[in-house]
């Protein structure tokens, strides 16, 4: 089985782009950002382990329904039912089939964020990343050119990937509590203190 399976390709292209929509939906019914994140993580887990993924015609609607059902389950099990939990569930029954324009705009915004995130990398990581993102360099050549061992190259690239993934992680429009996030980025954001 290859490193990147067909289901991964599908997951990357048809599921992950809607993560922010999922977060928005989950946040409407959650008491905390952590709970919303858990809900979304659970949805992603189910999507990436489903055997019938090829049959899912509209992943976004499918996932929003899944969240709704999970929320309803939780509400039923909860001892104290908050009123807001019961409002606007019907929203989800309206299929949203017009995401494309939204996605195009989001993609553009994404490009700006990407440039910013790359710029913000520590220089050593950024140099390695820039060399590796262009296809066709052999890792040995890059390592030799930068005067690094292959293992150092690997570590710096991994660090760059990690920092970029953190910086570009989908989050809600409003700044919100991010207790589950890595401490290092939070430290960096607070540097002026």
């Amino acid at each position: 089985m290859p490193v990147v399976r067909p289901i991964d390709r599908w997951f990357i292209e048809e599921v992950l782009p809607f993560e922010r929509d999922l977060l928005d939906a989950a946040a409407r019914w959650s008491d905390s950002a952590d709970e919303a994140r858990d809900l979304v993580q659970e949805v992603l887990t189910r999507m990436l382990s489903t055997e019938g993924w090829q049959a899912i015609t509209n992943p976004k609607t499918y996932m929003l329904r899944m969240i709704r059902n999970m929320v309803i389950d939780r509400v039923r099990r909860a001892k104290v039912v908050e009123f807001r939990h019961l409002v606007d569930h019907d929203d989800f029954d309206v299929a949203d089939d017009a995401p494309d324009q939204h996605r195009v705009t989001a993609d553009r915004q994404m490009l700006a964020e990407v440039a910013e995130a790359v710029e913000a990398l520590p220089e050593r990581c950024r140099i390695v990343f820039e060399r590796c993102r262009v296809e066709g360099h052999s890792p040995k050549d890059i390592a030799a050119e930068l005067g690094l061992s292959l293992s150092t190259l690997e570590k710096r690239l991994a660090r760059a990937i990690h920092l970029l993934a953190l910086a570009l992680e989908p989050r809600r429009g409003d700044p919100y509590e991010t207790s589950g996030r890595e401490p290092e980025t939070r430290r960096r954001l607070r540097l002026p203190n």
Binding site: D8, I12, L48, S49, Q54, V114, V134, G136, E169
Partner: protein
């Protein structure tokens, strides 16, 4: 595949490890068996890896491309009308006589195709999980069966990110090229095919006394120009690879080019063509990176740095001394 026993991992732990796996995957140092064990041990790992890969592809410019126009095949009962449309389109392709050689077109064995107009590009996910990107003014046809995946670049340029699966064959006019799982850029130049192997292996079959050959990336990316009489292999250095693949980022890159060749390259993307009126301008050396979607900065650069006069007519940009 559900979460196995053991402590539940946080997404943050998984993300750190996924970054290392992806770095190793990109550098070719990954131990695939160990990776699979790690991925299959916890869904949080699988998600983290997909997330890191998605980030990588976005950052490497893939998100720039057009949202795929063709959906995955939906093998279960209810087909969408779009799917039916595609099938009709595939049959229409055959009826249009694009495929020679007595191909039978059963439903599972029909050709599909996609094309782009001048100035357009498009990214398509194929039913086997492969991804094809079409550059300006290009047309790709493909046909998948259980035992073979056949591609035909009818015009233009196509980048193929080929997943593992049945044997993949690119049909040229006379020669066949067999591709392994990997990444390839293929540009049609008249009757020849210019193939850049970025990852994986390409095998060109022999023909009429011309020996076959294998092109791989052990010494780095290689390109091979395949024509009826010949197959010429050249190693491609990083700059050349960058130049060849620049279109994936809607860019056009001139290195050690002449104004003549730069204009020829730019015109692939333009409906309003650039015309060099005074021929001696053609040999002026130029270099630079420009966007394919807007020739103005290029013309501006030509005008100011080369002291070339640019006039605009409704159908062309005219370059004079």
């Amino acid at each position: 595949m559900r979460r196995s026993e053991g402590p539940v991992r946080t997404p943050a732990q998984a993300a750190t490890e996924a970054a290392t796996w992806l770095a190793q995957y990109r550098l070719g140092t990954i131990d695939e068996a160990a990776f699979r064990t790690w991925r299959d041990s916890d869904m949080a790992n699988a998600i983290a890896f997909a997330r890191a890969l998605a980030m990588w592809e976005r950052v490497s410019g893939d998100a720039n491309d057009v949202v795929p126009a063709i959906p995955f095949p939906m093998p279960y009962g209810a087909m969408t009308s779009r799917r039916n449309f595609l099938r009709t389109a595939a049959v229409a392709t055959v009826a249009g006589g694009i495929i020679a050689g007595g191909v039978t077109t059963t439903r599972a064995y029909a050709w599909s195709s996609a094309s782009t107009e001048v100035g357009e590009n498009k990214r398509i996910r194929l039913s086997d999980g492969s991804v094809a990107a079409l550059n300006t003014n290009s047309r790709l046809s493909w046909r998948f069966s259980a035992s073979e995946r056949t591609f035909w670049i009818e015009r233009g340029e196509v980048a193929l990110d080929l997943s593992a699966g049945a044997e993949a064959v690119v049909r040229g006019d006379d020669r066949l090229v067999f591709l392994s799982q990997g990444r390839f850029n293929m540009r049609r130049r008249d009757a020849a095919l210019d193939l850049l192997v970025l990852a994986g292996t390409a095998r060109v079959n022999g023909d009429k006394g011309v020996p076959g050959m294998i092109v791989d990336t052990r010494k780095g990316a290689s390109s091979v120009l395949i024509s009826q009489s010949d197959a010429v292999v050249r190693l491609a250095n990083a700059e050349q690879v960058d130049g060849i693949t620049a279109w994936r980022h809607n860019e056009i890159l001139f290195q050690d080019a002449t104004l003549g060749s730069a204009v020829e390259e730019y015109n692939r993307f333009l409906t309003r063509k650039i015309v060099i009126v005074d021929r001696e301008l053609s040999s002026i050396p130029v270099g630079g990176r420009f966007t394919t979607t807007d020739p103005d900065p290029f013309l501006q650069a030509v005008s100011t740095s080369l002291n070339v006069h640019v006039s605009r007519s409704p159908t062309a940009y005219l370059l004079t001394r």
